[in-house]
């Protein structure tokens, strides 16, 4: 099993409060992994550490065996929608083109090839018709798909996403999960901070349970257990239906989680 991302002893602190503490996590190549945990438990920080956006107090992140800053071109990032100002004067196509900037380097401008790649990425998320729309005119789900298309345009090996399903409509949710499955089928590795415990078993094959520390990680069937969930969420969890009893194809009954 090749390891796509190898995180060792990762500790990130803001001031004297640890947000992530001594986290070890191996993301095997080719999986669709969910990162779940309560709010403020360090999930976004874990993603950002993977991308070199925060400096850890200790520990390391290696991508395919090398330090991440040597492998940036292999990782694509889909941030939370709230991280940008959607009133910015730019079109959908422009945003997706930005995904190609890593390939262009310093002085080259996007040309025909880049445009085609961007349009292809938009087609993958069914947003090709919106190419010349200003981004503020999109719905939340459409904005999310644009961010996803931007990541697809990067043609990376590893895709790292922060709550892509948060607050999107059903059409978008379907579109996104289809893209993720296509990526996995193509041998890519996908890591997703996921907010909805209900859909973990349906969408993902691996899961990491994080609450400042790594509680458990591995294949969903083995790791996504009641005991582990209780350990992750403390007492703030009411399970009406044990997740591991669910047949993979069926949708679990509502199990409120944090």
């Amino acid at each position: 099993m090749e390891v796509a991302v190898d995180i060792k002893d990762l500790t990130v602190a803001y001031g004297d409060k640890p947000v992530l503490w001594d986290v070890d996590l191996q993301v095997p190549r080719g999986v669709l992994m969910a990162i779940v945990g309560p709010n403020g438990a360090g999930k976004t920080t874990l993603l950002k550490a993977m991308l070199g956006l925060v400096r850890p107090a200790a520990g390391s992140v290696r991508v395919f065996g090398r330090p991440y800053h040597q492998q940036r071109h292999l990782i694509a990032y889909v941030p939370q929608r709230s991280s940008v100002d959607w009133d910015f004067p730019t079109t959908v196509l422009d945003v997706v083109l930005m995904g190609r900037y890593g390939h262009l380097g310093w002085f080259r401008r996007p040309g025909r090839a880049e445009r085609d790649a961007a349009l292809a990425a938009l087609a993958q998320v069914q947003m090709a018709d919106f190419a010349h729309r200003q981004i503020g005119q999109l719905s939340g789900g459409q904005q999310q798909r644009v961010f996803l298309a931007r990541a697809l345009a990067q043609a990376a090996e590893i895709y790292v996403m922060d709550e892509p399903f948060q607050g999107v409509d059903a059409v978008t949710e379907r579109a996104i999960i289809n893209v993720l499955r296509d990526l996995r089928a193509a041998g890519k590795t996908v890591v997703v901070v996921h907010h909805d415990l209900q859909t973990v078993t349906e969408y993902f094959d691996h899961v990491a349970l994080i609450n400042v520390r790594r509680i458990a990680a591995g294949p969903v069937a083995e790791v996504f257990t009641e005991a582990n969930l209780r350990a992750t969420y403390g007492g703030r969890l009411a399970l009406l239906h044990t997740p591991t009893d669910t047949a993979p194809a069926a949708r679990p009954t509502p199990a409120p989680g944090d």
Binding site: T11, G15, D16, W21, D22, A58, D87
Partner: protein, 367 residues
Amino acid sequence: MSPQLEVQLIAVIIAAACTLPGVFLVLRRMAMLSDAISHTVLLGIVLAYLISGNLSSPLLFAGAVAMGVLTVWLVELMSGSRLMHEDAAIGLVFPALFSLAVLLISRFAGNVHLDTDSVLLGELAFAPFDRIELFGLSLPRALVVGSGTLMLNLILLVLFYKELKLATFDPALATTLGFAPALIHYGLMTSVSLTAVTAFDAVGSILVIALMVAPPATAYLLTDRLPRMILLSVAIGIASALSGYWLARWFDVSIAGTMATMTGIAFLLAFLFAPRRGIVAQRRQQQINRERFALQMLTLHLLNHEGTRDANVECHPRHLIEELHWPAAFAGAIVRQAEQHGLVQRRGDMLVLTEQGRLFAAEASVR
């Protein structure tokens, strides 16, 4: 009272009057409105003057205060349209109104003592010469008006303390409890306006901004509690005003400018040396954290590999350095610290946990 004493008294009173509403401006993230209001009140004064035709009409005062509140309303109108962000709205509204004021003055009131320079600069030294009669006493106008404003701000603060506190920290809750946050907001803005108008004749708009924002910001670095923050702000404001006055006299430079500079120096001192929040304290805390994490990491690793087959490899200092990715010097220092604290011992080449070290690691792993 000698003129010098009067000037100092005026300065103290105005400083106190400014810091009181300033505390809430800072806490509500509306500090730049003080910049806007202290510039636009000039337009209110000019318009009122043009209407009333006379410089001592109370209409001037009322007009200035009204213009201040109007400014806030305009800013909110602009940013509420969602066509621009709030900071751009502020940067649009006040220069436009101020420009209008400057033009009106130079065009229609050029011969009148509405010196645009004094808008910015004020002139405290002249305050004793502008006197009014009150209860048979001859007092500087700035002193009387300033005291009135200070009194008003104090009364408002005491009367509406809990509403202000709630509306500042939890506007949603305030609404459900029936305190209209909008009312509190505009009440605060009226107070800011009033204070700015009172103060800027004597000290100019720049010092008004400095006094409204810098002492509360300084206090914010020193305390977490609102009552203490208010008291500290007033104290720092007064101290800055007095020290500024004396330094300005000593060096024979602008009084208002020196006072503003002193508020900055007070902030700088807190920025550097505040316990807990100052830079010096923060650096020390970061260093302590770094060492504590490292010690925990070290003992945890020793614990994990203790008694395992590869223990004699894993527990060698050099291997630990590699695995934990520590620079050699740092690693050496940590190991020494661990030894000093009695957490590890050297046994030949290897590092071994003591009983205390094992406890330390166990605690660390439960966090």
